[in-house]
């Protein structure tokens, strides 16, 4: 069996044409697929909801397709669209599995086992006619929209042309990340503060942006055109302008594609440029207090992560730049060897930073995530993998978060030690006994029998030790999820830990004084990390009995958290999960 299946995709979106190495080949991990493509993780179903019809599914195993390394990029061929969403989503899954060191799972699937798509994420590349794309857990799928661009001010698009969100690399990765987070932390869709929705959006943007840096050719090109200063918003033109102003195309600078998201989409809706950018907000510690709109608030987190990334990149390439200068590389343009070395560094660091972020998800609380807690999770996760931090990754993160006013609660300082999660506080008279009898499986093979046995063991153990594990004694709780986690021990050996989500739920009144008040679900519990012997290493606790947290959530829900233009006319939405379709038009 081959290791990979080469498939052609757009590195950005169709409007870039062949420029900037936009036509590229993704080497997708090989798996046998049926027409669709339908594989182990995904089922691409090309149902067009607006026209009530199916489009012919692509057969990636057909010799004509295989011999060309997949279909050629084309906007007019729906089968290329199917191929591209499949390839990009599989690459995103690979990115997560690489970071987490195990197989990913989608969120709970209520479909019957005999359903041919049970356990697969369903992908609808042309599901709706709308400038929108979204992940919907209820559908067990991702819907991509297509729409006609506006009549004017549409950038590189033709006025009125059909724009496909499923051909935007960024949009595909963004929506896939929503689905992947939902598989890891299902209750992150429960809106509990301004941070929860913003976190989902920000994380999806972070993963999408870092994906750009895995394409070495695109990175090398950007490095050459920014003199090594990768974070510049603009790339140098092909030639310097002569005389007053740029006269020909080659004299015009272009936007730096690495740090912007979904340009075609933004252009087509007349937004004049990319939808969002990695940087663009100056570090302002007061912004976080003012901004509550999920995408805008999320962009603060995105900027913090990218600030850290660029700091690390600059620190790690300073020597290269010095060597370059010492060899007389004066004037514009870098030596091609230097460009390649810088590109390799940038890709490597981007991969590392993205891995750190993804691994941090395992260290996040089960509900009610805040940006500050994400920083703590990130610092702890990275410490577990690289205890000594020789290149200052964690220091860069802490600094960048601090500059943007992201303040973790209940932490005494911004020092690494203070930020790391700690083991639970134990009453010395009642030591917390390790959880014995778990059967670890480091490969994540499906084994329902072993899973249900482990769940019973965990439940029995936690019900004997509720308080130190953040549970309210006497109230029911759920062992919501558990899976293995690898790290590098202090002696350099790879160790395996266990991540467990424990969850409790209370129905609380929105207005405690009103007997007829609306009810909302209030969740609590903890994320517990056990070592191989069942000893608790960390307990990340969100107590259900925490009044302050309850009051804060109440205030948030009362304060128009559900407010939308429609809410005034149709009444507020019930307190179910986030609706990605309606958060500011999805993407």
């Amino acid at each position: 069996m081959p290791a990979t299946r080469p498939l052609k995709i757009y590195a950005f979106d169709p409007t870039r044409g062949r420029k900037l190495n936009n036509y590229m080949t993704a080497n997708v991990r090989y798996e046998p697929v049926k027409p669709g493509p339908v594989g182990e993780y995904l089922a691409v179903i090309d149902y067009d909801g607006a026209n009530d019809r199916y489009y012919r599914p692509v057969d990636l195993d057909h010799p004509d397709v295989m011999i060309g390394g997949g279909l050629d990029p084309s906007e007019s061929d729906p089968q290329f669209h199917q191929q591209m969403v499949y390839a990009v989503i599989m690459e995103t899954i690979k990115r997560f599995e690489f970071a987490l060191g195990r197989k990913v799972k989608w969120a709970r699937d209520s479909s019957p086992k005999r359903d041919p798509y049970h356990g697969k994420l369903r992908i609808f590349p042309h599901g709706i006619e709308d400038g929108n794309a979204f992940y919907d857990p209820a559908l067990r799928g991702i819907v991509f929209g297509y729409f006609a661009a506006g009549r004017s001010g549409v950038g590189a698009n033709l006025p009125g042309q059909t724009v496909f969100t499923c051909l935007s690399h960024d949009i595909i990765v963004h929506e896939t990340t929503h689905a992947l987070i939902d598989g890891l932390r299902e209750k992150f869709t429960v809106s509990t503060s301004a941070d929860t929705a913003a976190f989902h959006e920000a994380f999806a943007d972070i993963v999408a942006l870092f994906e750009h840096f895995s394409y070495k050719e695109a990175v090398a090109d950007a490095i050459e055109r920014t003199g090594g200063y990768l974070y510049s918003a603009q790339l140098d033109p092909d030639v310097a302008a002569r005389g007053a102003g740029a006269g020909i195309m080659a004299e015009q600078p272009q936007a730096n594609p690495l740090i912007e998201l979904a340009r075609q989409f933004g252009d087509a809706l007349g937004m004049r440029g990319a939808l969002r950018s990695a940087l663009g907000t100056r570090p302002d510690p007061t912004l976080l207090e003012k901004i509550t709109e999920p995408h805008e608030r999320g962009s603060i987190l995105v900027a913090a992560v990218f600030d850290a990334f660029f700091s690390i990149y600059l620190a790690r390439t300073r020597d290269l730049m010095r060597i370059g200068r010492a060899n007389g590389a004066a004037g514009p343009g870098l030596h091609p060897d230097l460009t390649n070395r810088l590109a390799a560094e940038a890709s490597k660091i981007a991969g590392r930073v993205s891995t750190i972020c993804i691994r941090a998800l395992d260290y996040c609380p089960p509900v009610d995530i805040t940006f500050g807690e994400f920083l703590r999770a990130l610092v702890t996760a990275d410490y577990d993998l690289v205890p000594d931090d020789p290149h200052g990754y964690r220091a860069a993160f802490i600094e960048a978060f601090r500059a943007r006013g992201i303040v973790p609660e209940d932490v005494t300082s911004y020092s690494e030690e203070a930020l790391r999660w700690s083991p639970p506080e134990i009453d010395p008279k009642q030591p917390l006994k390790p959880c014995r009898g778990l059967r670890l499986d480091m490969f994540g093979d499906a084994n329902p029998q072993r899973d249900s046995r482990n769940a019973a063991v965990l439940h029995g153990w936690a019900s004997k030790n509720p308080a130190p594990l953040g549970l309210e004694p006497g109230e029911t709780f759920q062992v919501f999820s558990f899976h293995p986690l690898h790290r590098v021990g202090p002696d350099g050996r790879v160790c395996f830990d266990y991540v467990v989500e424990l969850l409790q739920r209370r129905d609380e009144k929105l207005d405690p004084k009103d007997p007829k008040s609306e009810i909302f679900p209030f969740y609590g519990g903890s994320t517990v990390i056990l070592d191989r012997l069942g000893k608790v290493r960390y307990a990340v606790i969100k107590r259900i009995g925490n009044r302050r947290r309850l009051e804060r959530q109440r205030a948030f829900l009362e304060g128009g958290a559900r407010g939308s233009a429609a809410a005034a006319f149709t009444g507020p939405r019930p307190f179910d999960g986030l609706s990605f379709a309606s958060i500011h038009k999805g993407y």
């Binding site: 089922a43 179903i45 090309d46 149902y47 067009d48 909801g49 607006a50 026209n51 009530d52 019809r53 199916y54 489009y55 012919r56 599914p57 007019s76 729906p78 089968q79 041919p116 798509y117 042309h126 599901g127 709706i128 006619e129 709308d130 400038g131 929108n132 559908l139 819907v143 297509y146 729409f147 006609a148 661009a149 506006g150 009125g160 059909t162 496909f164 809706l269 009362e558 304060g559 128009g560 407010g563 939308s564 233009a565 429609a566 809410a567 005034a568 006319f569 149709t570 009444g571 507020p572 379709a581 309606s582 038009k585």
Partner: protein, 405 residues
Amino acid sequence: MPATRHKNIRIRMYRVGFGDCFLVTLPGAGAKPRQVLIDCGVHPRGDIKTMGDVVTNICAETGGELDLIVATHAHQDHLSGFGGFAQKFRAMKVREVWLPWTENSGDAAAAALKKKRLALVEGLARHFAAVRDPRYQAVNAALLNLRGNDAAFALLKSELGAALAYREAGQHISDAAGIKGLDVEVLGPPRDKEFLARMDPPASERYLRAAATGAGESRSLAPFPPKWNYKYDTPPLSDADLEYFKELADESGEALAFALTQAVNNTSIVMLMRYGGHAMLFPGDAQYGNWQFWLERKDAAGLLAGVSFYKVSHHGSENATPRDALDRMPEGKFAAMIPTQDTPWPSIPYSKLMAAVAKQTGGRFVRSDSISVHGAPAGPAAPHLPEGFQEGQLWYDYSMAVETA
């Protein structure tokens, strides 16, 4: 009681159904009181057929002379009376008319926005009229409200022989409409770019297309030629899945319709009228985006703290009176009027806001639907009116004594 009338400011809220119509009578310096009419409209789906009597009363009360008409924004439930009873208004003497700057056809940005909005509304209205599903009653009512205001604007802009002024945030008018001592601070609608962008929800070409072709239910773009169509032996989607996609398409149109409605509400003239030591806040139907703009001003807290009368915005809907704005109005020291009824949108007025207004005013408020009209949706009965309020045949009056120096 003409004697008291001359010493008091009297705010008359008419019961028109679901709509706004306020006549503010100021004592004035001379013998005649001065008259300001703020909006005169009812929603077609919330019409209780009292508008004719209301307009007749306005003519009688004012002796056919209005110093100022303010039409806060382009919705039927604030304008329809001007269109429907144009004849009667034409016979009146009107000195000045105020409209929001967004209705100024001489302003290129405003005109372009309005043209696009109306085209979208047209497409959406046709689409939802053709879908015929009771589920879409709320959205149909919202769309209806956005259309059919041409007659009203024709009257207000040119048929009254009145001086026409377009209002925008930041304007400060002393002795407004020639009424000595009437001082108006215009708080909305703002004129900046960011606001305009918010006024312009991402358009859907689909509905623009429907408007252009005159089609009923909007037709979809066909992204690929028929050669790509495919028939499965066993279709991969269940009926429930297919239903999901069907609703999806309408939901996006629905969201757009409500976004457009809110955008127009946010073009409302928001004005603080000061007269004789009182400050009266008339926000039209301003919803969150419009309030937000001026609540950020440094003096916003001071403005609100000095309010002696508040016309509750947008019929008391969920997001039309920001909580912190209400909290900053002086507790127990101001009165409020709420022109509302639960038809056509059962979620308006919002019960929590009603409770909050009751608390903050110390009970000094009335709802227009407390006036009983045969066959009309009945609001809560108000047998004992708070001090300063009086009930008429089709209206409530609130009077405030004018302080004399």
